[in-house]
Symmetry: C2
Subunit: 348 residues, 2 copies
């Protein structure tokens, strides 16, 4: 199976997603700054994957400063720097907090080697849980598919976005293996083409039929009844069930509603922000204008043109048919379903 | 003013729109095949513009065969070839038919020089009417704007798509000059980026504030109340008011409805297909997969990937607030409004 993130003792290997599908190349991260840079440049991307990468980034940072008399302040700085790479996906902060809470069990008198070992175990656990979570989401999600249908997905919530099978694409893989998904339509997902480059590539590797379309074809594909369901991932889910995800997701959700097509979101509990009431408060990352004005170094828009380039949007829960988690499938009213989910997590 | 189409006696100059915004270069068409090829390759594009170009293509064809004993059959072949360049925009067929109906006033005993002169006059008349039509549409359309708003447009229905000010962008230019449009959001319009390349370029030339976005940002821009109206062109309008236009238009119309934003279509009467009941019957051109899989010669999707690449979609009249023509503004029920329009045209 495709492994986008691999841990080899003192080195984190990250499949460089900016080079796909033309080149399969791993970045060797031997210090935390390389990890932070890889997250910032989207060389590693996808909410669960950046959580796992950041966890190992903290391990690398801890190792770098293991002999420093400023170990503890350095570790805080590492966590802070990793946390500043991207603002929207909550899994990043979730993973960093989880790592720092392990560190906080130790104090200034502890043996630093013990701290580092505990951090490494925690990061490995986060990656292993991600794998397990993917598999559970895949199975819960596949139960929503009972007859053969074509599905549409946006961006990449696949193996490349996680340490495992993927969230949305994990469900696709499972439902395909059960004969209930016959084809995937992948929005190319401008500006960075995660759909055309990544989703198409990873589904082709698994011999799952996939057709790419430009983002503006989604409505027409639905109108022509070429897809019967939508499934996407998420970068942050608030208490009322609002979902931040790759820019364009909101438009797809409105179109799905117009065509009476179910709109599913697949995401692990680490994507839920239990401190935030609604999607209105989610900070939306705006990225560089050149992502829109250039392509592969070639200018495609006039010099000096103004650009609006939000990387995410927020889909209100009213447009979401179900949210698939590793604890089961949530349906509205989401305030209640998510409160119950929180109880379940605490109970485990 | 920008002139995308110029007629210089035996030569049709077409601004090569595939090279914009990086290069301003005219194609010198001295025979009809070059015109046909320019239409096919979208070097000249936009429904009204390809009508005008095809009209001059017929003049060039007639001149080429002026000394041939097979003049009349050759002229038919020229018309047929030009008509086969693109299937969706009806202005192409409208212009060709109008030219051939002028030719049909002559017979085998006529002086060919007279035929050619009549054809040239007709083509010049079509171009002049286009200019006049643009100006009328601009004024009728601007009456719909009474307070300063930002508008969104898709693809390019501007000076580059016509012989004059443009249809949708003609309205924008007029309403801007009256202080009622403050900014234009231009969807980049994949796969060929007519929004980012052409609309952005021509509005910047006129110092009209313009912001480009990727197609999948439209919903979010509406949700954030950054635009208060949509205005687009059309490639074919049927008797019930359904509108074929650049792929993605349908999705924009659905999103406009969801956000209670008026959705306007600006098009000359040559865009109306008075022989077709509804949009269901409009042939939709599908273009080469490489438009989606490649960008500026660089492959951006995996080899062997399947692609769906319709160049147009159909927006049902129920989503259209008004259709702006050179005869005035049409509102629903469109069956009646378009029947009245037909009477008006006949009456003039």
């Amino acid at each position: 199976m495709l492994q986008s993130i691999q841990w080899k003792e003192n080195c984190l290997l990250l499949l460089n997603q900016t080079l796909l599908p033309n080149k399969v190349e791993y970045i060797e991260c031997r210090d935390y700054q390389v990890v932070a840079e890889a997250i910032r440049r989207l060389e590693v991307r996808g909410a669960p994957a950046i959580g796992v990468a950041a966890a190992f980034g903290i391990v690398l940072g801890a190792k770098e400063f293991s002999n420093s008399q400023y170990f503890w302040t350095s570790l805080l700085k590492v966590a802070e720097e990793l946390g500043q790479t991207r603002p929207t996906a909550v899994n990043l902060f979730w993973a960093i907090e989880r790592m720092m809470s392990v560190a906080s069990r130790y104090d200034k008198n502890s043996d630093i080697a013990d701290v580092i070992l505990a951090l490494e175990h925690e990061a490995i656990a986060i990656a292993a849980e991600d794998l397990d979570m993917n598999s559970k989401i895949a199975h819960f999600g596949a139960e929503l598919f009972n007859i053969p249908v074509s599905v549409l997905t946006h961006c990449n919530a696949g193996a490349l976005a996680t340490a495992g099978l993927g969230t949305a694409l994990g469900v696709v893989r499972q439902a395909f293996s059960e004969g209930n998904i016959t084809r995937v339509f992948a929005d190319e997902t401008r500006p960075l083409l995660q759909g055309a480059r990544l989703t198409a590539w990873e589904l082709m590797q698994d011999n799952i039929p996939v057709t790419i379309i430009t983002d503006n074809m989604t409505g027409w594909v639905m109108k022509k009844n070429m897809v019967q369901a939508v499934i996407v991932g998420a970068d942050r889910i608030t208490l009322n069930g609002d979902v931040a995800n790759k820019i364009g997701t909101y438009g797809v959700a409105v179109l799905a509603k117009e065509h009476n097509i179910p709109f599913y979101v697949a995401a692990p509990v680490s994507t839920f922000d239990f401190t935030m009431e609604s999607g209105l408060n989610i900070p939306i990352e705006e990225r560089d204008a050149t992502e829109v004005t250039h392509f592969a170094g070639i200018r495609t828009a006039p010099e000096g043109i103004e650009v609006f380039n939000p990387a995410f949007d927020v889909t209100p829960s009213s447009l979401i048919t179900a949210i698939i988690t590793e604890y089961g499938v949530l349906k509205g009213p989401y305030n209640e379903a998510i409160a119950e989910l929180q109880q379940k997590i605490k109970g485990v």
